[in-house]
């Protein structure tokens, strides 16, 4: 047996073991979808009469907002006067509200100063800032931003062309902010990325006067620090706050005077969740209609517990039957097939659990369907090979030579067939949204793992068995016919 085969065999077994152990150590668990587990449901109501069209548009935006990756499979539907959103796996109602958001507009405002949080009321009057607006006007007392409770500008006075005082995420600081210089319209995309082991938010602005040019104008001011965008103590550059819904999402320092349209990175001490939330807020700023959250509720699974239990029991029995059948038919080779299934299964589980925990990939009934079928296809890879073996042996070859000869032929068949599945999975993933996308991901994953398990485990394992004297002597124990057995000639 070539040494390479042995390395493959040991390598894949170790990889599967490592994946299982890591999944347990990291406490990764698949995130079950709404249909299987339930979650939190938020009912949003429009503040003004809205047409069905506007609500449908809002449904689309909210779906994108809560499911940027397209695999969390939330349920978003239009109701009579608003939108109902259900999120899987979220048990914290506040987080659900934060995710869904009810925002009006995203604004970029230069930061004049930062204050600690205040509890006392400090009434102030608001006046539109005379152009050119500069922070010194406010800091010098020339303009008073309107403030209400807790020393921040209340929503009704939060106008784009005025100075405002707004709170930030987490509520530890208040920001004194200049008039808006850019709105969410300027943005074309925003994503959370893990760069240099730090979560950062990469944004892409539109080109033209209302996009990157406007941003660069304020960037040039903030970089050097001017009256419009001063440098605060402890900072090396001025800052621009990104405000959503009367709340400062983030207020990064401007570290360059000119930016490329698609090379703007916000690096902060984001953790993963924060980075994602900021990116989401940036991406889906405005809804066509203002929505307010009416209530949030924890909802149970849409498929009843009874169905779920039945499904799990049925799945276990089904797998057991498959095992029985395969071993009954292929004997020891059947055991190899089962081991191969276990290898691809444990790898698949590790990946699903990892993505479920890290990226909100939900495992719904559709996903489970994909996996059930994948089991059939994985077993098929083994069947194709074993039948090839039997065929070759009956055609007069020895068992051992058949093992070497049949594998490449069978594997080429498997690759051809699996490639078709992969093409399908790739296209569906790329071109669709919602449940179809989740299905495509599971199908693609399972197919790749099937190829891996076949090539690295099943093939080498059968070759290893073929080395034994036992294999040649008792082909029946491997579900193989005696070597050279030639059937009756029919003509």
């Amino acid at each position: 047996m070539p040494r390479r085969q042995l390395v493959f065999l040991i390598g894949i077994v170790l990889a599967a073991l490592a994946a299982t152990v890591m999944t347990a150590v990291w406490e990764n668990e698949p995130l079950l979808g709404l249909d299987l587990q339930g979650g939190v449901s938020v009912r949003l109501t429009a503040t003004e009469p809205a047409t069905e069209e506007m609500l449908d548009q809002a449904v689309g935006i909210i779906r994108n907002r809560v499911d940027a990756l397209g695999v969390a499979e939330p349920e978003v539907s239009r109701t009579a006067d608003g939108v109902m959103v259900s999120l899987p796996g979220v048990d914290d109602q506040q987080r659900a509200l934060d995710l869904v958001g009810t925002t009006a507009e995203l604004r970029f405002r230069p930061v004049c100063d930062v204050f600690p949080v205040m509890t006392a009321n400090q009434p102030g009057q608001g006046t539109a800032a005379p152009a050119p607006a500069s922070c010194s006007q406010v800091l010098g007392g020339g303009v008073l931003p309107p403030t209400g409770r807790a020393g921040v500008t209340p929503p009704e006075h939060d106008h784009a062309d005025q100075f405002v005082i707004l709170g930030g995420r987490g509520g530890t600081q208040r920001y004194l902010l200049g008039p808006s210089v850019l709105t969410g319209d300027a943005l074309s995309d925003a994503n959370a990325d893990l760069i240099d082991f730090q979560w950062q938010v990469a944004i892409t602005l539109k080109s033209g006067a209302d996009g990157i040019d406007a941003f660069n104008r304020i960037a040039a001011l903030c970089f050097v620090g001017t009256r419009e965008c001063p440098i605060m103590a402890g900072f090396s550059n001025g800052r621009v706050a990104i405000v959503l819904d009367g709340q400062v999402l983030t207020a990064p320092q401007i570290r360059a005077s000119q930016f490329e349209r698609d090379r703007i990175l916000i690096s902060g001490s984001f953790d993963k969740e924060e980075a994602h939330d900021v990116a989401l807020g940036l991406r889906y700023g405005a809804l066509p209609v203002e929505l307010v959250a009416e209530n949030t509720q924890v909802v149970s699974a849409t498929i009843g517990e009874d169905s779920l239990d039945a499904g799990v029991v049925a799945g276990i029995i089904g797998l057991f039957l498959v095992a029985l059948f395969i071993v009954g038919y292929y004997r020891l080779l059947g055991l190899v097939a089962l081991a191969s299934l276990a290898i691809s299964g444990s790898l698949l589980w590790a990946i699903i659990a990892h993505l479920g925990t890290q990226s909100g990939l939900a495992l719904t009934l559709a996903g489970v369907t994909g996996i059930i079928v994948a089991i059939g296809v994985s077993v098929d890879s083994n069947v194709v090979y074993f039948e090839h073996l039997k065929e070759d042996i009956r055609d007069g070859r020895t068992a051992r030579s058949s093992v070497d000869r049949a594998f490449p032929v069978a594997f080429s068949t498997i690759v051809k067939a699996d490639m078709a599945s992969l093409i399908g999975a790739g296209l569906l993933w790329w071109l669709t949204v919602g449940a179809v996308r989740g299905f495509a991901l599971y199908l693609g994953l399972a197919t790749i793992l099937d190829l891996v398990a076949t090539y690295f485990f099943m093939g080498p394992m059968v070759r290893l068995l073929a080395q034994t004297r036992w294999f040649a002597r008792h082909p029946g124990r491997f579900g193989l016919p005696a070597a050279g057995a030639v059937g009756a000639v029919v003509s």
Binding site: S300, A314, I317, L365, D404, M419, L427, T432, V436, V489
Partner: protein, 367 residues
């Protein structure tokens, strides 16, 4: 030898071509019925696609089963029932007719508890999702056709796509005829059927290519005969794979519906089971017959058929190719027939063999 024994040993000598005509007829009828039913009765789309009515009922002490019982009286036992918090139920049903929805509300108020909200809801699976999926499918068909053309040949691409289309039409038709509810899970099951059918067909075609490649050069068999040999050689694989794929689904259906009485799972279990059976059937009977039809018109295979006819092999039952013949292809180099194309021209193609492999024994005796 018993039938099972023969099957186990791969000695099946089914005469597939004899069944093709019947199979194609049956399939055409089934497709016709499906399309007609789709046109006349349409599909029973669930609340996810069409929207419907949603009720929130406060009913301390009631169970999901109680709520389902109330809905069942209105022929809406498939309503989606969730609990919100402790004693609040959200019941969604695809009933859209306001009068009937009102009746249901009254019944819920009478038999279950206080109806707190009652409203029309829109679909969660919007037309946007469907449009995108449909477009993706079109692209998929084109790309897969190209892929099969490159890896196998275009005639097989035609056969494979026809088989897949047949499977989808028949499955959707089945749902239309019986008016089973279409849920997102069902749509996924349809997609799964498609993938499964395509996969199965490619496995069969690869075998066909292998056999025609090895034995085609002898020019002693017609394409139909070679196809029949290839199909017999993949029969066992097809049966085994169908069984292993179907077992989990069957157990889901049996245990899920009969023993434990759960509704949601069986709807798409039916779709999957149907797809597995139809997918295997279409690969063995439809995809193969279509390719044979196309290939037999090729000059090369026409010539061989003509030669066979002059030798006295007239139309009639397909000659079955014996194991010994099949295993040891003729290695003489016969006269080339002009216009011969395809993988095998003169000599049998030696399939890849790794170091240590033993080449086929030379033929000892000729009959």
């Amino acid at each position: 030898m018993s039938a099972f024994r023969r099957l186990y040993n791969g000695e099946t000598t089914l005469d597939y071509p004899r069944w093709w005509r019947r199979a194609v007829t049956i399939s055409l009828v089934a497709m016709l019925v499906s399309v007609a039913s789709f046109g006349v009765r349409g599909l029973n789309l669930g609340i996810d696609f069409e929207g419907g009515t949603s009720y929130e009922v406060r009913a301390p002490g009631a169970s999901v089963a109680d709520a389902r019982a109330v809905m069942a009286a209105f022929d809406a036992a498939d309503a989606r029932i969730q609990t919100l918090g402790d004693d609040l139920f959200r019941i969604r049903s695809e009933v859209a007719d306001p009068a009937r929805a009102g009746e249901i509300r009254d019944a819920l108020a009478a038999d279950l508890g206080t109806v707190e909200t009652f409203e029309q809801v829109g679909p969660t699976w919007g037309s946007e999702v469907t449009d995108k999926a449909a477009r993706a499918l079109l692209v998929f068909f084109v790309v897969v056709a190209l892929y099969i053309t490159v890896r196998l040949e275009w005639k097989m691409a035609v056969g494979a796509l026809a088989a897949v289309a047949h499977d989808i039409v028949v499955s959707v038709g089945f749902y239309s005829v019986l008016q089973l509810e279409i849920t997102p899970a069902t749509v996924i099951a349809f997609l799964t059927i498609m993938g499964y059918s395509l996969y199965d067909t490619i496995v069969v075609y690869d075998k066909v290519r292998d056999v025609t490649g090895r034995l085609g050069a002898t020019e002693r068999y017609s394409y139909t005969e070679l196809m029949n040999l290839a199909l017999n050689r993949v029969t066992m694989r097809s049966i085994n794979t169908s069984i292993t794929s179907a077992l989990p689904v069957v157990s889901l259906l049996l245990i899920g519906s009969v023993i434990m009485g759960a509704g949601a799972l069986q709807e798409f279990g039916v779709a999957l089971l149907l797809g597995i059976v139809v997918g295997s059937y279409s690969s063995l009977f439809l995809a193969s017959s279509l390719v044979t039809l196309l290939k037999e018109r090729e000059e090369r295979w026409q010539a061989i058929a003509g030669k066979l006819r002059t030798r006295g092999h007239t139309e009639g039952p397909t000659r079955l190719i014996g194991r010994e013949e099949a295993a040891q292809p003729d290695t003489r180099s016969p006269d080339r027939i002009d216009g011969s194309r395809g993988v095998a021209r003169r000599r049998p193609v030696q399939t890849t063999h790794l170091g240590g492999a033993v080449p086929p024994r030379p033929r000892k005796k000729r009959r």
